[in-house]
């Protein structure tokens, strides 16, 4: 049975300096409030993992929480570049950021291997590209049955995975619907997991098509209403596209970002802007 904690308790208990941390969410249900709580608690030397690092990862990187990023697409969706990520890669600001770069198919399969308890995954991927020359975690492998040349990528097993979902009950059973991305695999691949939810309810009403993470497969849940803003939570609120646009200007220079960052430090858990 998962523990029910506050967001601040959940981060304090589950996320440690130096951890490999995955905050997953594919445009939908991005655990933004949890990412900002990590900033507030000043975690350092994290290896951040995510298929689509977007503005909450830009914030974590700009705040100096990360020393490495494992990813497949880093941008501000529909807007453009992540300026804090760029500044870290191009100018090592505020601290140098190592990168381990994959494709979406590769990252998705790495989580699948992690969730399956396997050491690696096999896919048809990366063929002919320059990625294997730069990324040590992409290797050729020969099929033992057909002799075909394929690609192997190692399992991802984060120390902690954090995702956001719509609901949980008091036993920590989690219900998530709409675009589910790679969240199930990321949670099952991790040593520990924290699920922030829009609401904790007495009883989960079954919902067709919804994904259920049983409470015994989750370490902790925390109720964080609007915890995915400015991304969206199907059935609860829409994506705040203006906030993504606004982030472009905030993140463009170090001084503006610094002002934003000092604002985050002063806020309580759960506030997003």
């Amino acid at each position: 049975m998962a523990k029910v904690l506050s967001l601040a308790e959940g981060i304090a208990e589950l996320v440690h300096d130096g951890d490999v941390v995955a905050l997953e969410g594919f445009t939908h249900l991005i655990p933004v409030a949890a990412g900002q709580e990590i900033i507030r608690q000043r975690r350092k030397n994290l290896t951040l993992v995510r298929m689509t690092p977007d503005i909450v990862y830009d914030q974590l990187i700009g705040a100096g929480c990360a020393r490495k990023l494992i990813f497949s697409w880093g941008g501000n969706p529909g807007v453009g570049s992540l300026h804090r990520f760029r500044d870290a890669v191009q100018h090592s600001w505020p601290v140098p950021l190592a990168i381990e770069e994959h494709s979406h198919a590769g990252m998705a399969n790495r989580y699948v291997a992690g969730a399956s308890g396997l050491p690696f995954a096999v896919l048809r991927g990366y063929t002919g590209t320059d990625l294997p020359n730069q990324t040590a975690t992409i290797k050729p492998i020969t099929c033992p049955f057909t002799g075909e040349q394929l690609t192997a990528v190692p399992a991802l097993n984060p120390d902690v995975t954090i995702v956001h979902a719509q609901r949980a009950d008091r036993a920590g059973n989690v219900q998530l619907w709409g675009i589910a991305g790679v969240q199930k695999e990321a949670v099952l691949a991790a040593k520990r997991s924290l699920v922030t939810v829009e609401e904790i309810v007495d009883e989960l009403e079954p919902k067709p098509g919804a994904l259920v993470l049983p409470g015994w497969a989750v370490t902790a849940v925390a109720e964080v209403p609007f915890g995915a803003l400015p991304s969206y939570a199907a059935g609860y609120y829409e994506r705040d596209n203006d906030a993504y646009q606004a982030w472009d200007a905030i993140s463009k220079n170090r001084e503006e970002f610094g002002k934003w960052l000092s604002g985050v430090g002063k806020q309580g858990a759960g506030a997003s802007e």
Partner: protein, 250 residues
């Protein structure tokens, strides 16, 4: 009728998609073109987005690849591992529709870094996303991007997604199953790989565009097809629907 170069590009890109096809859609220009096609000549075009939305029928252009609108209107919403492993990888999808930051004369795509040194790039771009496997596994690939000598280069700084490598036969040698890029749509015209060499060759010019303009906007010695054709102008209907679509998305 007046129209912009970007509108011509979106219309030309939409026309390339035949009714009944399945299309793996990248965000931005490819998504605009695919949604225009579905509203004009190709109502049975199946749109697949890497967020796991199969058969999405959005009423407005999605700003991101995982907008709620895509999930709400889809035939099915599947996980990201499933969309790549079950739907893309076995070669079930007809066309992969991609954008690019840099494209070279053999249709290789770069969305990773500008500059020769990966470790110390001039510009860090977003990265691969789904593109390497889309370019590998779809039956064919269309690319849409604005043409300039900065974007159209002799050789990409980084091969994020493999096109035709260094020429004819490279895809076969690597065991790639799809045909790779068969069409590049720009704001100036259309390019297709030469059947003998796989080098991208100008096959159509958009109305009002001079050949010299296209050469100027290409970073290699552009070859021109012997039977260079002209793209038909956008029709009133195409422009009307494109503009309505854009308006609905604001």
């Amino acid at each position: 009728m007046n129209y912009t170069a970007d509108e011509m590009m979106s219309v030309a890109a939409a026309r390339a998609l035949a009714d009944g096809m399945s299309c793996f859609v990248g965000i931005g220009l490819p998504s605009t073109a695919a949604n225009l096609a579905r509203r004009t000549h190709a109502p049975n075009l199946t749109l697949i987005y890497e967020s796991g939305c199969l058969g999405a029928k959005p009423s407005r252009l999605p700003l991101s690849i995982g907008d709620g609108e895509l999930a709400d209107t889809a035939d099915a919403v599947v996980s990201v591992p499933e969309v790549f492993n079950y739907w893309l990888q076995p070669g079930r999808i007809d066309v992969g529709f991609l954008g690019a930051a840099q494209l070279d004369k053999f249709g290789n795509i770069n969305t990773t870094v500008i500059g020769a040194d990966y470790a110390d790039p001039k510009v860090r771009l977003p990265g691969a996303g789904g593109a390497p496997e889309i370019a590998a596994s779809c039956r064919e690939v269309f690319v849409v991007l604005r043409q300039s000598s900065r974007a159209f280069v002799e050789r990409v700084d980084f091969v994020t997604s493999f096109g035709h490598g260094s020429g004819k036969g490279d895809r076969e040698r690597l065991g790639l199953r799809g045909a790779g890029p068969t069409l590049v749509v720009t704001d100036l015209g259309l390019l297709r790989p030469d059947p003998e060499t796989s080098e991208l060759t100008l096959t159509e010019l958009h109305p009002g565009i001079e050949l010299a303009q296209v050469r100027q906007a290409t970073g290699w010695q552009l070859k021109v097809a012997k039977d260079l054709a002209g793209t038909p102008e956008p029709t009133e209907t195409e422009l009307h629907i494109l503009r309505e679509l854009k308006k609905a998305s604001e």
